[in-house]
């Protein structure tokens, strides 16, 4: 079978930038961060206080109590984003399509808040038993399974866990399945809800969380801001989408991965660079065709310098003509959901021909000498764009999109 072209026909997102795609894009375009004091957890014993949370969230607006009982917050976000994306795509599931459809989600830590609450009962309160729904709530594939059940999707359904690159790996594999004829439709993305006290304490010990806000590529950056949310894309063969007569957000054209095989937490230059090059090869385009990169851009001292050098290594002289921005400055670092949030930001950038900025920017860093679109959105004629995700563990995944 000849490889098929693959279109993005549906988007869904819930994040610190609101609970749907229009809110997400409005904030991105305005350069408006969704970072505020963490409210869902008592943070009096924490060194940092800010996070990028889904605000004003009421599960009761989305789920009946019987369904809520089964859903950790991260699965709720997965399901909400998938519902939006499916509705947006206008897809109608026939019995045949259900068997030929796939769901691939990314999550780094699964049902963190359910795990924390139940283990607290056992360790701290000496509870003699744990709630029987704990395991089905905390398993990292719960989001994917609930999406499959909701839409009756009975093809390939699974979850990828590669820390901060999880949902890029998920979207990339879903893309390949649709391209190669293994699936005729895929719902792909990721979700994360990492705000539990124990998990925040563990991040505190890593000493990479900023006390104030996330300023990627700024000289005075102090680290990342943790975020939460869910984001899903509907991927289907371009011909099928055209036959259905639906609008296309973008085409997904390439996926590249690599491993640093070096250090468990310190990123390399070579690994990320090779992942970007692999994505370009997979898309069958030269580096000079790319106009925009949605950076991994965590705002840590290490990442932003290494990523800047990796982009130079992969793009050579063209690195000076590229626009690079980090939308983590607004929606925070949602770990296993980060790639999916940023894939949607990248797709919308191509669709609206507008680059979302790197928000909270103050001072250039000579070690991050790229055009990072500081603070103000910018019109673009970019035809191709990349979205980077580089994980702890040295695992790198890069997606390539084309304007439809």
């Amino acid at each position: 079978m000849t490889p098929r072209r693959v279109a993005v026909t549906g988007l869904g997102v819930i994040s610190a930038l609101g609970q749907d795609v229009p809110c997400f894009w409005n904030d991105l375009r305005a350069g408006r961060p969704g970072i505020s004091r963490i409210e869902s957890v008592d943070i009096s014993g924490l060194r940092f206080q800010n996070g990028a949370q889904v605000r004003g969230y009421d599960p009761g607006q989305h789920f009946e109590p019987a369904q809520s009982d089964l859903l950790d917050r991260f699965s709720q976000f997965a399901l909400i984003a998938a519902r939006q994306a499916v509705r947006d795509s206008g897809i109608v599931f026939t019995p045949e399509l259900r068997q030929r459809a796939a769901v691939v989600t990314g999550s780094s830590v699964g049902g963190q808040s359910s795990e924390d609450a139940q283990f607290w009962e056992v360790y701290r309160c000496n509870a003699p038993r744990v709630h029987p729904l704990t395991i089905p709530r905390i398993m990292a594939n719960a989001g994917a399974s609930h999406i499959a059940m909701e839409f009756g999707i009975s093809g390939a359904v699974y979850t990828v866990s590669t820390a901060c690159a999880s949902s890029n790996h998920a979207i990339g594999q879903a893309f390949w399945m649709v391209r190669d004829g293994v699936a005729d439709l895929a719902i792909a993305g990721g979700s994360e809800a990492p705000f539990s006290f124990g998990f925040l304490k563990a991040w505190e010990a890593m000493r990479v969380v900023a006390p104030d806000t996330c300023r990627p590529f700024s000289r005075d950056r102090k680290g990342l801001i943790l975020g939460e949310g869910g984001a899903m894309l509907v991927l289907e063969p371009l011909e099928q989408a055209r036959a259905r007569g639906v609008p296309l957000y973008a085409e997904i054209v390439g996926f590249g991965m690599s491993s640093d095989a070096g250090h468990i937490t310190t990123p390399s230059i070579d690994g990320p660079s090779r992942a970007m090059q692999a994505a370009l090869r997979d898309a069958n385009i030269g580096p000079e065709r790319v106009g925009y990169i949605n950076a991994h851009g965590t705002g840590t001292t290490n990442n932003d310098v290494t990523e800047s050098r990796a982009i130079r290594q992969a793009f050579g002289l063209h690195a000076d003509k590229l626009a690079v921005s980090s939308t983590k400055s607004m929606h925070g670092h949602a770990l296993g959901a980060a790639g999916a949030l940023e894939a949607i930001a990248t797709v919308l950038a191509l669709y609206h021909r507008t680059l979302p900025p790197t928000a909270n920017f103050t001072t250039p860093d000579p070690e991050c000498d790229l055009d990072i679109v500081p603070n103000q959105a910018r019109a673009t004629e970019a035809e191709y764009a990349l979205s980077n995700a580089f994980a702890f563990g040295g695992l790198n995944a890069v997606l390539a999109f084309r304007r439809a």
Binding site: R47, P211, I264, T266, N302
Partner: protein, 88 residues
């Protein structure tokens, strides 16, 4: 300056990095001793636990040598006991 506090810090470094105590001197830099970013996090964790202090990210970032580490811990323990004396 071979006092008890300094000795405790030097031992913590040797234990964390799993190197002989004799290799660690006040004049060593953390880099010379081969402490990478993760080793440094482990060391800060050990020192916070051993001395019952809290080392801020800003304080941690500026440390390059063992001597700076020892003096940093000394200041923090002094202000911690000062605080507990005040509150007592």
């Amino acid at each position: 300056m071979s006092d008890e506090l300094a000795e405790k810090v030097l031992s913590a470094i040797a234990t964390t990095k799993r190197i002989p105590r004799e290799r660690v001197s006040l004049d060593s830099t953390l880099e010379e001793l081969g402490l990478d970013s993760l080793d440094q996090l482990n060391l800060l964790f050990a020192l916070e636990s051993d001395f019952n202090i809290s080392i801020s990210d800003e304080q941690a970032k500026s440390i390059r040598t063992v001597r700076e580490m020892v003096e940093g811990v000394r200041k923090l323990t002094a202000s911690a006991s000062g605080q507990s004396a005040l509150s007592a």
